[in-house]
Each structure stands twice: as structure tokens, then as C-alpha cells.
């Protein structure tokens, strides 16, 4: 069986021509099921482009992206929507919740698009919200919740449909340190339960939580190392942050 994620010689070029920007330059990256990978890079390094590529939100200019054995780099919009729905749980920096919907309705949304029947959908949403410790705030809207709570709703939304990959893009970027620690703990626990986690960050302190650290700059992968200090406690995380 192939890798879960297989990025083969992928390039992404913006403004082709004289002022072209090579956001990704012949990138190769493979990730196995069950890994916890951090992708670290400064802003402008191409990590956001890589994250969009991994999340099927963008298509490469050249190269191939195999996800779960499928070539997703040349799919139609609707096929990509289906892949995102089934394969990927997104956790964004800005939470990306829909303001007019309650926590539970937000969590149910991807299940609606998958066509899960109402009763089953509600059960899955409630279970996911309880899993992130929001069992008592299911009827609250995003505006009635703190940043940490909103991000936990976003995590619940990402895991409710049990996708093979969790893709977290600067998940603690908008949060205070206390909430950040909670979120990182939840993500680490989700990994322990067997989920594949890809964490994109500019923060080395957060990247060190992962078992494998991929460093990207100028659109190229600079290093891809196994992190011997991974799976450290929350205190180590605090220390690393300082």
C-alpha cells in the first residue's frame, strides 16, 4: 500500500512570466498513516501554499499530489470538494466558523455536505463536541465563545467525520498561551488515538511537539528530520515557547 500523502515533484508558480513567484519549487514529501508532522517555515517560505496544496484547496502548476492513492492534482472542483469532505479535517488559524450557526450546527455542516442523515449527524456532532470539552456549549454561537472555545469547535468540526488527515494551519496563532496549550494537548491526544496530523506553523516551540519536523524556505524543503524530543509534556512545551 502506498503512502497516505505523496507529494511528487510539485511546483506552484504565481504570475508566470518575468515576475513569476515560485511558491513551491519541486517539492517532494511523503507522509505515512499515523504520523505527526510539523511543517515549519517563515512567512513567505511557501508553507501556506504547501498547506493549501495538501488540503486540496489549490492545484499544483506541475507535479503530482497523490492522496490515499488518488491523483488529486488534476481533479475537478466538485471532486476536490468531495476529497476535502472525506479525507481532510481542517483546523485554521482564524477558526473559520460560520457566525450565524451554533457550535453544533457548525460541526454538523461537513456531515450535511456528505449526506449523513439528520439523527446520525446530530449524534456525531454531539460526540465530537463532548470530545473537545464543549458538551455544555453546543447551542452557543461563535460570537458568544472565547477564541480557545471557538478553535475547539473547529476541531470538533474537523474530527466529527473522522477524516484520515487532520490539517492544522497555525492553530494557536490567534490564541493566548493558556488556550494554545489546551489546543495543542487536544491535537496531541488526537494523534495518540491514531490520527495523522499535519501541523503548519512558524513557531519552533509548537513544531517541537511533532515527531517529525519538515522545514521549508524559499519554496524548497530544507530539512526533514525525526524529532527525538517529541511527545514531551506541557511544561516542556511552555519552556520551548520561551
Amino acid at each position: 500500500m502506498g503512502k497516505l500523502v505523496d507529494v511528487i515533484d510539485v511546483s506552484k508558480i504565481y504570475n508566470p512570466g518575468e515576475n513569476e513567484v515560485r511558491a513551491l519549487d519541486h517539492v517532494n514529501l511523503s507522509i505515512d498513516t499515523g504520523e505527526f508532522v510539523a511543517i515549519i517555515g517563515q512567512s513567505g517560505s511557501g508553507k501556506s501554499t504547501l498547506m493549501n496544496m495538501l488540503g486540496c484547496l489549490d492545484t499544483p502548476t506541475s507535479g503530482t499530489y497523490m492522496l490515499h492513492g488518488m491523483d488529486v492534482s488534476h481533479m475537478t472542483d466538485n471532486e476536490q470538494s468531495d476529497v476535502r469532505n472525506r479525507e481532510i479535517g481542517f483546523i485554521f488559524q482564524g477558526f473559520n466558523l460560520i457566525q450565524s450557526l451554533t457550535a453544533q450546527e457548525n460541526v454538523e455542516l461537513p456531515l450535511i455536505y456528505r449526506g449523513v442523515p439528520k439523527k446520525e449527524r446530530q449524534e456525531l456532532a454531539v460526540t465530537a463536541l463532548q470530545r473537545v470539552g464543549l458538551g455544555k456549549r453546543m447551542d452557543h454561537r461563535p460570537t458568544e465563545m472565547s477564541g480557545g472555545q471557538q478553535q475547539r469547535v473547529a476541531i470538533a468540526r474537523a474530527i466529527a467525520q473522522a477524516p484520515p488527515i487532520l490539517l492544522a494551519d497555525e492553530p494557536t496563532g490567534n490564541l493566548d498561551s493558556g488556550s494554545s496549550r489546551e489546543i495543542i494537548e487536544i491535537i496531541k491526544n488526537l494523534h495518540k488515538e491514531g490520527r495523522t496530523v499535519i501541523l503548519i506553523t512558524h513557531d519552533p516551540g509548537i513544531a517541537k511537539q511533532a515527531k517529525r519536523i519538515v522545514t521549508i524556505s524559499d519554496g524548497r524543503i530544507q530539512s526533514d528530520i525525526i524529532n527525538p524530543d517529541a511527545d514531551v509534556s506541557g511544561e516542556a512545551y511552555e519552556k520551548n515557547r520561551e
Binding site: N52, G55, L57, D58, D77, N78, S81, D82, R84, N85, R86, F90, F92, N96, L97, I98, Q99, S100, L101, L109, P110, I112, Y113, R114, G115, R157
Partner: protein, 403 residues
């Protein structure tokens, strides 16, 4: 799945109440005016038909152009038409003018209608007492008459005046007539017209032979004009054609234009044409209003799509297909215009109800107009919502997310 989109659309409409209400206004006004015009129009049509219903609808008039031929309609023609034209209840002379009726209680102006026995069909009010005169009585110059109930009351002091006599005066000569029948009263509209001509106008029917005697008319040489009455269900235009052909053959008249004709069907057809024209014009005005309303819907949906670009990006990133976004925004546009249609229908019926009450028309709400208007308004949402919805659906998730 579709009810999720509808619930979503309703939530967005609830969150933007004022904006939605203002957007609906164009459609509300358009639909309300269509409904009001059609409902008031139907009320008016029913009113006119009801009033015209006092006259037989299976009636036609034949009129000889005296500049073309010297031939006339004779008593013999009347008899032969009766015998030979299928579907014809009868032909009748029609002498109409005014005289004076004097009873034991009062003397009043009277509008008389004198003809053959079949002229009973001229008006539709039923006989209340007694009977109508017969063709034998017409031939025998029998001095009999039929009057209306209110005239019997006025002249004789009782509605059941059968057997009593009245004095009928015409051009300085008079004759005593026996009342052999009393009709139900005429409709309000006819009585209003009659009474407008004189302080009180009685309506009396009698054999044409009696009137001819009083006025020294020689009916044998014929008259210019007769009435035809068709059996129920017969085609009055058809009767006119066959009767004219029959008469021309008998009198050897060839000129196409020698006999002019007019049927009640023509008259009510003309009235229907006028109403249809009014409705068509108002529908045109309403259609313009609906198009303006539709543009309003499109405008507000474009604003909504722009405002919710990020939401669209979120939905797409978690797996919404193009169709799902399209349906969501289309549903919203259609619900706005559908609600506008419902409000418009309600408003239109209310306006029509008030108008019909004031004009004393019957309120006739045509279900098909209501259904069509609502369906049409929803269609407007579909048509004008399509562009904004497509715009939303075609957004790239990556662009929409970073909006």
C-alpha cells in the same frame, strides 16, 4: 438535504429582516397590483354579466337596410321562420315605446314591449302569477297584458293582479287590457335606468296586434326589424345566418348587406374584449414592476454573496460542492421572492376586497390567478437569483477563504 438549504436561507432572511423586506417591496407591489386588478376585474365582469343576465343571451336582432331593399319582415315571415329554422324558439316583432297605464289605484308612465308570444324570452324574470299571452291571442288581437310585480302593486294595490283590468293609452287612444300575468320584478339596474327616465316607469308586455290597432299600423306590409330567440344551447350567430338566408331566399333579395344583425353574444363578446384589454395592460404594468423587483432581488443577492464570501470559502473548504452553494443562494433568492409573492397576494386581495365592498361587487378570488402569481414571483427569484448564485458557487475556496 434540500431542507437544510431552505433552513439556512430562512436563517439568513431572519438575520436581515429590514433589508429583505425592502427587497421584497418591488415584487409585493407587482403581485399585489396583478391580484387586485384581476380580482376587481372579475368582480366587475360578474356584475355586468349579472345585470345583462336580465336579458336573454340567446337573442339576436335582424335589421333591414331600407336603402338597399324595399322588402320587409311580415307576419308570414315570422310564422315561416318559426316553422323552418331548427333551434329557433321563435321570431317576434318588437314594437317598443311609451304610453300610460291607468289602474284602479294609480296612473303611471309605461314602457311597453309588444311582440309575438315568444317575446316572453326577452327578459329572464320568471312569471310570478298567471301566464304569458299565447300566439293565438296575438293573432286574435286579444286585449291582454303582462306587467311586473311592483307595477301590479302600484296600479292595483296587490301583486296578484291577474284578472284585473288596466287602461292602456297610446297616442291619444286607449284600450282596456286584462292582466293575465305578473312577472317577478326586474333587476335593480334595469329599474334604476327606467326610473331615471320618468318618476316611475312601469314595464308592460302585450301582443303586437293590440298596439298595431291602437297606432293604425299595417303589419301585413311588414316592418324593418325583428328579434330572434334561440332555444337554450343554440348558437345565436348560427341562427342569425340561417334565418337571414331563409328570409332572403323567400323575398328574392341578393345583396349581402341587405340585413344587418347583432346578437347578445356579440355584445358580451365586446365587453369581454374590453376587460381583456384592461387586464392585458395592467399585467404589462405589473410585469414591469416585477422585473424591477427581480432586479432588486438580484442586487441584494449580489451584496449578500460579497458579504458572505468568507462563509462560502469555509463551506467549500469543508466539502460543499458547487451545486450545494448554488442551491443555497438560489433557495434564498426564491424564498425572498416567494414570500414577496405571498405578501403581494394577501395585499392584493385586501385591496380588491375593500374596492369590491365599496363598489358593491362580489369578491371573486380566482385560485388560478393566486397560484400563477405566486409561481411567477418564485420564478423571478429563480431567474434573477441565478447570476448571484452562480457567482457564489464558482468561487475558488482558496480565494474566498482569504477574503
Amino acid at each position: 438535504m434540500i431542507h437544510e438549504y431552505i433552513a439556512d436561507a430562512l436563517r439568513n432572511i431572519r438575520n436581515n429582516r429590514l433589508r429583505t423586506a425592502l427587497t421584497m417591496l418591488g415584487i409585493v407591489i407587482g403581485i399585489a397590483s396583478v391580484i387586485a386588478v384581476f380580482t376587481i376585474g372579475d368582480g366587475l365582469t360578474a356584475y355586468v354579466q349579472n345585470e345583462m343576465g336580465g336579458f336573454s343571451s340567446n337573442m339576436a336582432m335582424l335589421h333591414i337596410d331600407t336603402s338597399i331593399t324595399n322588402e320587409r319582415f311580415t307576419p308570414e315571415d315570422i310564422r315561416l321562420l318559426d316553422e323552418n329554422i331548427p333551434g329557433l324558439a321563435g321570431a317576434s316583432f318588437d314594437l317598443e315605446s311609451e304610453g300610460i297605464l291607468t289602474g284602479k289605484r294609480a296612473a303611471v308612465d309605461a314602457s311597453y314591449t309588444a311582440g309575438n308570444a315568444v317575446i316572453k324570452r326577452y327578459v329572464s324574470n320568471k312569471m310570478k302569477y298567471g301566464r304569458y299571452f299565447t300566439e293565438d291571442e296575438v293573432e286574435n288581437h286579444a286585449p291582454v297584458c303582462v306587467i311586473a310585480a311592483r307595477d301590479a302593486q302600484k296600479l292595483c294595490g296587490t301583486e296578484d293582479a291577474v284578472g284585473q283590468t288596466v287602461e292602456f293609452s297610446l297616442q291619444g287612444r286607449s284600450k282596456t287590457l286584462t292582466i293575465i300575468g305578473v312577472r317577478e320584478n326586474y333587476s335593480e339596474a334595469i329599474l334604476t335606468i327606467m326610473d331615471a327616465m320618468s318618476e316611475y316607469m312601469a314595464l308592460v308586455e302585450l301582443p303586437y296586434t293590440v298596439v298595431a290597432d291602437l297606432t293604425n299600423m299595417d303589419m301585413k306590409s311588414g316592418v324593418q326589424e325583428i328579434l330572434l330567440f334561440g332555444e337554450t344551447g343554440s348558437d345565436s350567430n348560427d341562427l342569425m345566418r340561417t334565418s337571414i338566408r331563409f328570409w332572403k331566399n323567400r323575398h328574392g333579395v341578393r345583396d349581402e348587406k341587405a340585413v344587418m344583425s347583432l346578437s347578445m353574444a356579440d355584445v358580451s363578446g365586446e365587453i369581454d374584449t374590453i376587460f381583456a384589454a384592461i387586464k392585458a395592460f395592467m399585467s404589462f404594468v405589473a410585469a414591469i414592476s416585477l422585473v424591477v423587483g427581480g432586479i432588486g432581488v438580484m442586487n441584494i443577492m449580489l451584496v449578500s454573496v460579497t458579504e458572505r464570501t468568507r462563509e462560502i470559502g469555509i463551506r467549500k473548504s469543508i466539502g460543499a460542492r458547487t451545486g450545494a452553494i448554488l442551491v443555497q443562494f438560489l433557495a434564498e433568492a426564491m424564498i425572498i421572492s416567494f414570500l414577496g409573492g405571498i405578501v403581494g397576494v394577501t395585499l392584493g386581495i385586501t385591496v380588491a376586497a375593500v374596492a369590491c365592498y365599496l363598489l358593491k361587487f362580489e369578491l371573486l378570488v380566482s385560485p388560478s390567478v393566486v397560484v400563477l402569481a405566486t409561481a411567477f414571483s418564485t420564478m423571478i427569484g429563480l431567474i434573477f437569483g441565478l447570476h448571484p448564485a452562480r457567482k457564489a458557487a464558482k468561487m475558488k475556496p482558496i480565494d474566498a477563504l482569504h477574503f
